[in-house]
Symmetry: C2
Subunit: 204 residues, 2 copies
């Protein structure tokens, strides 16, 4: 039987490296991650994944040069707009009490209506101005997000970089060497195949 992870976490890393490689300014890389995000969402939905969580940007990322901060913030707003047409429930999690949080996304941070949407194909969470310290200090602020079965990270690094430390305690981590804007559906398919060989013990 083919085991489909219920919940997949996505770390779309490598936008700046991709921009540099392609002769662009670092901040120009983020918009090239929008189409991959949509393609991955559709592939996951087609496979029967129930929940998908994207690592948007973090509180720490906001210390970067302003041009970059503006660019990834804008990309997150744009991503939500694109996903709106995909028959999914979108939820945004992050520190809203900071100027770094884009106000266009405030209305997505209320999680009350989740239970009312049982017929929607998939839940999609986006971390926006998220911080693991913020999460912990606020009594596990992200607790509406469920346990993550597999994290797929693009860009070659084998680390979680503060991505939902509680939800990922038992996650299998699959690394794609290619940079995020170079996403291909084949990456996702290979990750699913790899997941078949992982023995899920949940710490037992």
């Amino acid at each position: 039987m083919f085991r489909i992870p219920k919940h997949i976490g996505v770390i779309p890393d490598g936008n700046r490296r991709w921009a540099k490689k392609n002769g662009l300014r670092k901040e120009d890389g983020y918009e090239y991650g929008l189409t991959p995000g949509l393609q991955l969402l559709r592939a996951a939905k087609k496979s029967g994944v129930q929940e998908l969580t994207y690592y948007g940007f973090t509180v720490d990322n906001c210390k970067r040069p302003k041009a970059q901060v503006n660019a990834f913030s804008k990309a997150c707003v744009e991503a939500v707009r694109l996903m709106e047409s995909e028959d999914v429930v979108i939820s945004v999690t992050g520190n809203t009490k900071s100027s770094c949080f884009p106000e266009e996304l405030l209305s997505y941070t209320s999680h009350e209506d989740k239970a009312d949407c049982p017929k929607v194909a998939m839940r999609v969470n986006l971390l926006v101005n998220y911080g693991w310290e913020w999460d912990m200090k606020n009594g596990w602020a992200s607790q509406n997000i469920s346990r993550i079965d597999m994290v797929i990270r693009w860009g070659g690094m084998c680390r979680l970089s503060g991505f939902l430390p509680i939800q990922t305690v038992y996650s299998d981590l699959y690394i794609v060497k290619e940079l995020w804007p170079d996403y291909r559906e084949e990456h996702f398919e290979k990750a699913l195949q790899w997941y078949q060989k992982q023995d899920v013990t949940l710490g037992g």
Copy 2:
């Protein structure tokens, strides 16, 4: 310049698989992990690593058959005895308020004297009857253990399995395919070489 991780986490996985492969009972695998543990400690100390944290066993592991629980518990006690001769400060972290915690190790759970041993070559932490939920519910009970730069996991799985979720938020995770009792110093050396190529950003 060769960058040495200050603090390395060790997940010595694969003892049971190794035992099975070698025609032994599952519970007989753990004692074959003792010599590797000592060899790795010496290799790390020689390399200038300042702190080493071993994942001993967890609260959840204690739900396994009694023969296994006895065996890995005994192996942890024995590991501490062996490390006693290695000129390191040994500290044990875990839930002591449970019959699963070996009383021989109680005296190692007091962390007060750490600051008094500046001349000791390395600190070694051992997680014994540790649980990430226990850690969190007790207001970060493991906070005497510092941030971990690199986690090396033996046995092929790419996951943290509840290993110190706060200390590992930015850790690079290096996977050794071989099972823990098949440890060779070459694994550690390769991990150190791999670490050179990782770009430490601490979330920035």
